[in-house]
Symmetry: C2
Subunit: 238 residues, 2 copies
């Protein structure tokens, strides 16, 4: 059995976490099929970043799957309001306005269909329940429940020997841990993007430096003692 004989579908947003997750999946010996979603997000630049990350990973195939934004409307990451700035904004119900309805449920479901069509039994998702924004679909209990549902939804639920495995290697890691893991695993950090509200100039994207994702990213690099190659318009972190 070659070290690349097992195939996995890896969700790749173009951010730091998913790029690190892809690197870990490759390091574990998987032939990786990266899957990126265009769901009407404001920060479409991440799709281009994902393509570059997948290309730089060598053996990974890369698919961009387009979803109409309607079911995801109302989030400040899609069609609703402004992206909050300058604080990790929890929302009145503890969930920030950047929450996108059922996003990981939908993404993992389509990844499950892809995996079954490709004949593979492994999915990777870079969700994180430590330094994150409080999204319900990043919690370990969601991942466990999804795994049960996805197994029952497919042929795997009727076989004994090939259960669907959802790998969440970053679930319990701090953002600083993830930065260190990324650096150790050879992730080209300059290809990753985190900003929810980037702008563009003639040389490329500029992160706002003030949204939740920028704040968490900057703290992670600072705490890991790793240089952040991102260009920021402004920065809250000293």
């Amino acid at each position: 059995m070659s070290t690349r004989s097992r195939r996995a579908v890896v969700l790749l947003s173009g951010g730091l976490d998913s790029a690190t997750c892809l690197a870990l999946a490759r390091r574990t010996g998987f032939e990786c099929h990266a899957l990126t979603f265009d769901y009407g997000q404001r920060h479409k630049i991440e799709i281009e970043c994902a393509a570059r990350i997948a290309a730089s990973a060598g053996d990974a195939s890369h698919t961009v799957y387009t979803l109409d934004v309607a079911p995801f409307a109302g989030s400040s990451l899609t069609t609703g309001g402004d992206v909050p700035k300058d604080q990790i904004e929890p929302g009145s119900d503890g969930i920030p306005s950047t929450y996108v309805p059922a996003r990981n449920l939908v993404f993992l479901s389509i990844a499950t269909a892809y995996a079954e069509t490709l004949g593979c039994s492994d999915l990777f998702i870079g969700v994180n329940a430590v330094d994150y924004s409080g999204y319900p679909d990043c919690r370990p209990e969601f991942v466990r429940a999804f795994s049960d549902a996805a197994t029952l939804a497919t042929k795997r639920g009727t076989e004994q020997n090939h259960p669907l495995t959802i790998h969440v290697p970053l679930l319990e890691r701090s953002k600083a841990d993830i930065v260190r893991l990324a650096a150790e695993s050879g992730v080209d950090l300059a290809l990753t993007t985190s900003c929810y509200d980037p702008s563009l100039d003639e040389t490329g994207p500029i992160a706002c430096g003030r949204c939740d994702a920028c704040i968490l990213r900057q703290r992670g690099f600072r705490d890991a003692g790793v240089q952040d190659p991102t260009r920021y318009a402004e920065s809250m972190i000293r």
Copy 2:
């Protein structure tokens, strides 16, 4: 509280089961938002049937959501092989070639996102575990597991008072029961389509009469003693 103040998302394929499910949801007092998927199915005629059924239901809104076929490839309902004829074909693993990878998982996930965006707590799906083709994603254990995952994936999983409810009113019904329920509920049976491999002439679609779905439909009408308005090219049922 008016009888139409509760909203529900109802999956509507255009078939007998989903049309009956929609009628039952309306009869229960829900304002129904019907959701149909164009996922590259051969029998695209069902999408037009769904639109007519939703229009005939009066207050229901209707959305057709398009999904690229790639994750669903290989099924004989999409891009793989021929639709089997003349017997309920179980496949070597007990699952027929018309099985579409993780279809109900994906459909219910997108419906969950829609429901959250619309602010409603109820989904209806016309799955049936009695007279059906043996698809894993029609089993009650899948629906239960999905309900848990969907609740945890959304804001509902962080609130106590609005759990997501997935209604499966046809789950334990025979096809004959469903035909009777449809007739009692005022479903226009002539608008529903079941065939996986229909043809067309100048007056409209003609069901093959020989695929799994046609066989189950014809048996259901026969056993219910209800006239089937479908035009069949051939028929296995006497």
